[in-house]
């Protein structure tokens, strides 16, 4: 009883504090937190009851009154300071004094951040030594919006989080908003801001895949299906859907891209008209046209200055054999100069493909065409199709297209007023994007790059990076040594000598 009287209040307060600390550390209000809290409260209250007469006695003293008023004063001042901080931080003024404005975000980025309506989190996966570089940028983002937050994860230290987000490369940033995620692999402001725009926009762009002409189908998870391709599209927050043209009068208005994945039978006139109208309004179409047949689709493409060849591309370089592929599976590691293939370093291959070149005549104003992928020199477009199928003994003849053979091309098509540009991509093959080949080499990446370009999403905004200025120091080894002696030895000694002189003169 005596113990309770003497220590009850203090032990009780300590237990209450322990309870709060535990709740912070454990992040719950469960039993391990509630037990010390309740026990502490009981002890404190009984302690007060037992000591009531003493408390009454000291509360009457003058010093207690001073003490209480002093504590009240301190609490009031603290509250005022906290409120002042909260208010003033809302109206902060921030200025970047570096000459290159290297810590300033572009106006577009600031606008995107300030218009954020939902919480967005960026999770950066990298090694600790790269943290500060990233921190400089992400902190500026955080500065602009209370809805933006970020965290840094070292995949070596927290492999479970890296696994949860399926991180394969260091330097990946996952931008997350609600259920949508977007991943980028560079720390550039442009990529980061574009990712923000993509995860927060409410409209979802639709990619339609035509059906009804023996095309590969998106719902099909067999070898020749497009399940992998449509999954990759949905992973980027787009919607992939089937489109049965024969039932419709026009391409649906919400179509961002129409994919024609290797039709085996011809389109009807009505369907071609729908496509032509769609392209004229600035629509985007992805053609995949296998060799042999489809003369009408070939003509349709020719109207947009594509050059589909009546051939099968034979690759005699022998590289294909490394992957167990014959000469009719041309391999490509030579890509054109285009946004789709910018910085693309992977190989891609196309089982049974026809050539797909592009040739814009000089009088076709507003059109711009590029070859995306071409085979090695050691290949040609074999026109004698029987020879390939019968004996696999194809040889290059004078009438065959000489290598390098273009296999895929892209085209920008102006509409009748010349303002809006539709985008077309045509591949001389459709198998490359099927489930069997999608994840092999760079096939899937090239397919997705093409889709992204068609979606006209690859550059929502463009930001010139604010690189720091180049500022150097020119010093020789002997100068460095002089500086070392000056600042580390001479200067402190000088200060001590001055101090000593001052001290001794005063003592005298």
């Amino acid at each position: 009883m005596d113990l309770l009287k003497r220590f009850g209040i203090w032990v009780g307060i300590a237990l209450i504090l322990v309870g709060f600390v535990l709740s912070w550390i454990l992040g719950t209000w469960g039993a391990p937190v509630l037990i010390p809290l309740i026990l502490g409260a009981v002890l404190a209250v009984t302690g007060v009851v037992f000591n009531w007469s003493y408390i009454r006695e000291i509360s009457g003293r003058q010093t207690t009154k001073y003490g209480v008023s002093s504590i009240i004063g301190i609490v009031i001042v603290l509250v005022i300071v906290v409120i002042a901080n909260l208010i003033l931080n809302e109206f902060n003024w921030r200025v970047d004094t570096t000459a290159a404005k290297q810590f300033s975000l572009a106006d577009q980025t600031v606008k995107v951040l300030q218009n954020l309506e939902q919480d967005v989190e960026a999770i950066a996966f990298d090694v600790e030594s790269n943290r500060s570089r990233l921190e400089d940028r992400l902190k500026e983002y955080e500065e602009q919006s209370s809805k933006f937050s970020w965290r840094f994860v070292d995949p070596d230290k927290k492999p479970e989080i890296a696994k949860q987000y399926n991180i394969r490369n260091l330097g990946t940033i996952v931008v997350e908003a609600g259920t949508k995620t977007e991943r980028i692999d560079s720390y550039s402001e442009q990529n980061l801001t574009n990712a923000l725009i993509k995860v927060t926009r409410t409209e979802t762009k639709k990619v339609y895949f035509t059906t009804g002409h023996g095309e590969h189908a998106i719902g099909d998870d067999g070898e020749s299906g497009l399940q992998s391709a449509s999954a990759a599209i949905e992973e980027q927050n787009y919607v992939a859907e089937k489109l049965f043209l024969a039932n419709l009068d026009s391409i649906p208005g919400d179509a961002s891209v129409v994919v024609i994945p290797g039709p085996q039978t011809e389109f009807f006139d009505k369907e071609f008209n729908m496509l032509a109208q769609y392209i004229d309004k600035g629509g985007n179409v992805f053609f995949m046209l296998d060799p042999q047949g489809s003369p009408r689709m070939k003509d349709f493409l020719a109207k947009y200055y594509f050059e589909p060849g009546d051939n099968i591309v034979v690759d005699a370089s022998g590289i294909g054999q490394l992957f167990g592929a014959g000469p009719t599976v041309p391999l490509v590691n030579n890509y054109g100069d285009h946004t789709i293939t910018e910085g693309f370093g992977l190989m891609s291959f196309y089982p049974l493909a026809r050539s797909m070149g592009v040739n814009v005549p000089s009088n076709a104003s507003g059109y711009s065409g590029n070859v995306l992928a071409q085979t090695s020199r050691n290949s040609w477009g074999e026109t004698d199709l029987d020879r390939i199928s019968s004996a696999s003994q194809a040889e290059q003849d004078p009438e065959d297209m000489a290598g390098p053979v273009p296999l895929a091309s892209a085209m920008e098509v102006p509409n009748s007023s010349g303002s809006v540009k539709g985008r077309l991509v045509a591949f001389g093959d459709s198998d490359f994007a099927t489930n069997r080949y999608f994840n092999a080499q760079g096939n899937g990446d090239l397919f997705m790059n093409s889709v992204n370009w068609l979606l006209q999403d690859e550059d929502l905004i463009s930001v010139r990076p604010n690189a720091p200025e180049d500022r150097r120091i020119q010093m020789s080894q002997s100068q460095v040594r002089t500086v070392l002696i000056l600042v580390v030895i001479l200067l402190p000694v000088l200060i001590l000598v001055v101090g000593g002189v001052m001290y001794w003169t005063r003592r005298r």
């Binding site: 200025v95 004094t97 200025e469 500022r471 120091i473 030895i489 402190p492 000593g500 001290y503």
Partner: protein, 258 residues
């Protein structure tokens, strides 16, 4: 104002006539100098590699003395300052308490506020003179290159503001005790707390945000980058105000505690 000035002069004179001030400044300059030398050789190395890569591979790499050298130097100096300031401020009230002159001051017509401001001012000016001497480093760099001036000045401004906040804590702690060693260690312990609390500030919880907001070093970050933000000004001013207000309460309490 005049009375504040008197206290300020008296304290400052006593600082400069005691050997401690010179030892502290010399120590600060020597330790910072070692960091300066290490960062300088590291930077010259990076610069050499960049030059080599530019020649060999035709890839030009940007090298910036402000970001790669002055910025880490300022960050290191702010930590060294945290170690040095307690040695400056430990005399502030403790010396008067020990020698008994505090009684004279308390009974004189000088108000507590004037006394506190004078004492704080003297300790801060001593600290500021230390920072001014430490400006030798960018001056040396200006001889051999062209570092940017504005971000460098920003960094030193940050150093002064952070120091002012730390000095105010030192003055507060010294008002509790007549033992200078206890005053120094107490100040150091409190500042260590305000430094390390920032390490709790990872994650996105309220407490993490609070912890990183309270951290005295966290607010230095933008200054060392060369970015000025009124937020940090508000923080350091609040910090200083609260510490000096508590000092006022502490001095006041010596009157009625008897």
């Amino acid at each position: 104002m005049r009375k504040t000035w008197e206290i300020f002069k008296r304290d400052l004179k006593s600082y400069y006539s005691s050997p401690i001030a010179y030892v502290v400044i010399a120590l600060f300059i020597a330790v910072s100098g070692v960091f300066f030398y290490a960062l300088l050789t590291r930077f010259l190395n990076i610069q050499m590699q960049a030059m080599y890569q530019a020649q060999q591979m035709g890839r030009s790499i940007t090298v910036n003395v402000n970001q790669m050298m002055i910025r880490p130097l300022l960050a290191n100096m702010s930590i060294i300052a945290l170690f040095m300031i307690p040695m400056i401020t430990m005399r502030s009230f403790s010396e008067d308490k020990r020698s008994g002159t505090i009684e004279l001051l308390l009974t004189s017509p000088i108000s507590n506020t004037q006394m506190i401001l004078g004492k704080f001012g003297a300790a801060f000016v001593l600290y500021a003179s230390m920072v001014v001497v430490a400006f030798i480093y960018p001056v040396v760099l200006m001889f051999y290159g062209n570092p940017e001036i504005a971000p460098t000045l920003m960094g030193y401004l940050g150093l002064l503001l952070m120091g002012a906040a730390t000095v105010s804590v030192g003055v507060l702690i010294s008002s509790f005790t007549e033992n200078q060693i206890i005053a120094a260690i107490g100040t150091f312990a409190v500042m260590m707390l305000f430094w390390t609390i920032g390490w709790l500030g990872t994650g996105n919880s309220f407490f993490a945000d609070l912890a990183s907001y309270l951290s005295i070093i966290e607010h230095m970050g933008d200054f060392t980058k060369g970015v000025f933000d009124t937020k940090h000004l508000v923080y350091y001013a609040s910090f200083l105000f609260v510490a000096l207000f508590l000092t006022y309460q502490s001095i006041e309490s010596t009157k009625w505690r008897g």
